[in-house]
């Protein structure tokens, strides 16, 4: 009774250390390489664990420019079975609504699936919209902050973890879940799987020719969100205070300083 799972990934600039140009005040993007959104790797890990447990397949999808193929190769290297890159100029400039629409239509076209797994959010925009929106386009039950899934044959028991409690939901299949970030450690890329990704190349590229979507509903034109202004939070100058003394004394001074600053 294998599980056919679709997992969504986004290939994002690795913004772990983003530098701001002191002169222009803008982000230094020169030569910043992209990575698979780390929170999506948790979704991939969850999907792979479910496949390993119940059998079936994992298909990764991503709506992105062609260079995102490297991100799909990365998750194929982790053991994902198949990947679909949805790439078309008309999809460019999409907000979360237009993106989720394209992803939903992609999933519809894939057709056969039991479960969709997404990451909680992305490191480059942190909206957390996509999972909920795709679920609503496809009219699927949706649970977020998921940390584990049990397959019951006709549905799933999804465990989700909140700050103060753990909840269990019973979902009919097909369903969509977002994996809680940091809840699982993504597995490593292996030689065997990477070799398969490179040699068999189980990556398809779909354009809007394959999906046939109304250009008014995708890309910039299908995006009602307007980013009117971006403001950076003011940089708080660091005080560079070093607290001397033995550990106990230094910590006491530190706590006192934090209290004085109103931080704690």
């Amino acid at each position: 009774m294998g599980l056919d799972i679709i997992v969504g990934i986004k290939y994002v600039p690795n913004t772990t250390n983003v530098n701001i140009d002191p002169k222009t005040g803008t982000l230094v993007r020169e030569g910043v390489p992209s990575v698979v959104n780390p929170h999506d790797l948790v979704a991939v890990e969850l999907a792979l664990r479910l496949r390993d447990r119940y059998g079936g397949s994992v298909t990764a999808i991503s709506m992105a420019p062609p260079h995102a193929v490297a991100g799909l190769e990365h998750v194929l290297g982790m053991g994902v079975d198949r990947a679909i890159l949805v790439s078309d100029r008309v999809f460019a400039g999409a907000d979360t609504l237009a993106t989720s629409y394209v992803l939903a239509k992609t999933i519809e076209k894939i057709g056969r699936y039991d479960l969709i797994v997404m990451g909680q959010e992305t490191i480059d925009s942190s909206t957390g919209h996509i999972g909920a929106q795709v679920a609503s386009w496809l009219d699927l039950p949706y649970v977020y902050y998921a940390i584990d899934v049990e397959y019951t044959g006709d549905g799933f028991i999804v465990t989700r973890e909140l700050e103060d409690r753990v909840e269990r939901y019973r979902l009919a299949k097909p369903a969509l879940i977002s994996a809680k970030m940091y809840s699982l450690e993504p597995r490593q890329v292996t030689l065997r799987d990477k070799l398969r990704a490179v040699i068999e190349r189980p990556i398809e590229t779909w354009s809007n020719k394959d999906l046939g979507l109304d250009p008014n509903c995708v890309g910039l034109r299908g995006s009602p969100t307007i980013v009117s202004k971006v403001e950076f939070t003011p940089k708080v100058p660091r005080k560079n205070i070093i607290f001397e003394g033995d550990l106990r004394e230094a910590v006491r001074k530190l706590v006192q300083a934090l209290v004085e600053e109103g931080v704690i």
């Binding site: 690795n14 772990t16 250390n17 910043v32 390489p33 990365h74 290297g77 890329v189």
Partner: protein
């Protein structure tokens, strides 16, 4: 700082942390270097501390504190460690440092 002439400021060292902030890493949550800190206490020179270019090794009294996140994978620490206290592997899955302009 504002009272300082701009010339003076330009000629000041950049802190190591700020220098490192220009680099790109994809840090693996699993450390690729393991340090047997019990061997560090009796190490006389602790050469790792001054020779690790990214300051992954610092001292606290006789102890050596270690963090692998800023490692640029040069491998020097393993070579200079007189106690053979360092187990050194390359990060997997393409993680670790990602040089762009070197």
């Amino acid at each position: 700082m504002s009272s300082q002439a701009p010339e003076e400021r330009k000629r000041r060292k950049i802190r190591l942390e700020d220098l490192l902030n220009n680099n790109i890493w994809d840090v693996d949550p699993r450390p690729h270097i393991k340090l047997d800190t019990s061997k560090c206490r009796d190490c006389n020179y602790k050469p790792c501390v001054l020779l690790c270019p990214t300051g992954c090794y610092t001292t606290h009294g006789d102890d050596v504190l270690f963090s692998y996140e800023g490692c640029v994978e040069c491998g020097t620490c393993r070579v200079v460690c007189p106690e053979e206290a360092i187990t050194w592997e390359y990060p997997r899955s393409g993680r670790g440092i990602h040089f762009r302009f070197s």
